[in-house]
Amino acid sequence: MSYKVTEEGNVATIHLDGEIDMDVTEKAKEVILPIVESGKEVHLNLSQVQYMDSSGISVLIESHQKALENNTKVVVKEVSKSVLKVIMMAKLEQILNLE
């Protein structure tokens, strides 16, 4: 997994690239959670993520919940069809902020 972070005002956009599984979840959390904890609104761009398993879904949930604790939000953007299918299987499409 690789990533790129861009910031504009109070919004940080994190572009993730690759397959998100248990092997990379710690790295993903190390990238996402500190930005969420700083109070910035985080836009997670998943257009280059073609595979995500339950570990990746856990990162999305943890990021979402951490954002609520910090009075901000995580917006999950440009989700690929395959990843959306997993999000929907977990019945999280109404919980996560999907765009």
């Binding site: 248990m22 398993d53 339950s54 990162v59």
Partner: protein
């Protein structure tokens, strides 16, 4: 087309990508529809992840290997997982309730959603656990 292929992997999170590559290669030979293929790959990867995460919980590193065997016969897909981790008590394998939103506990749910059945067998010669996932395709 009937087929049976198996491969063993080091019990480690870094092996999960190899598990997916192996699974996709087998399913490509079976010319499965891409959506079905990716669902099956997810189920296999979740089961392999459970071995790494739960079967070897508390173990920093191991040289143990796990084996995955994918077979198709008469339209029934059977995927076997063999490992030497902690013995699984099938009754204790539960997924979390979906409305209890929290990280974790979804892997087993995904497997049950995708596959027709998931059964721990008692014929694990030389292994500790033998999980069999089946699906009519």
């Amino acid at each position: 087309m009937d087929l049976s292929e198996s491969k063993d992997f080091l019990v480690h999170t870094a092996s999960l990508k190899e598990v997916r590559v192996f699974s996709r290669e087998v399913f490509d030979k079976l010319k499965l529809d891409n959506d079905l293929k990716e669902e099956l790959v997810l189920a296999i990867a979740e089961a392999a992840q459970n071995i790494v995460k739960h079967g070897y919980k508390g173990v920093d590193s191991t040289t143990d290997r796990m084996e995955i065997k994918i077979s198709l016969k008469d339209g029934k897909l059977e995927i076997g997982f063999f490992d030497k981790g902690k013995p699984v008590v099938p009754e204790n394998v539960q997924h979390r309730q979906l409305d209890d939103i929290k990280p974790g506990g979804l892997g087993t749910f995904f497997i049950k959603q995708i596959m027709d059945a998931a059964v721990f067998k008692k014929d694990q010669k030389g292994w500790v656990n033998h999980l069999v996932l089946t699906k009519k395709i």
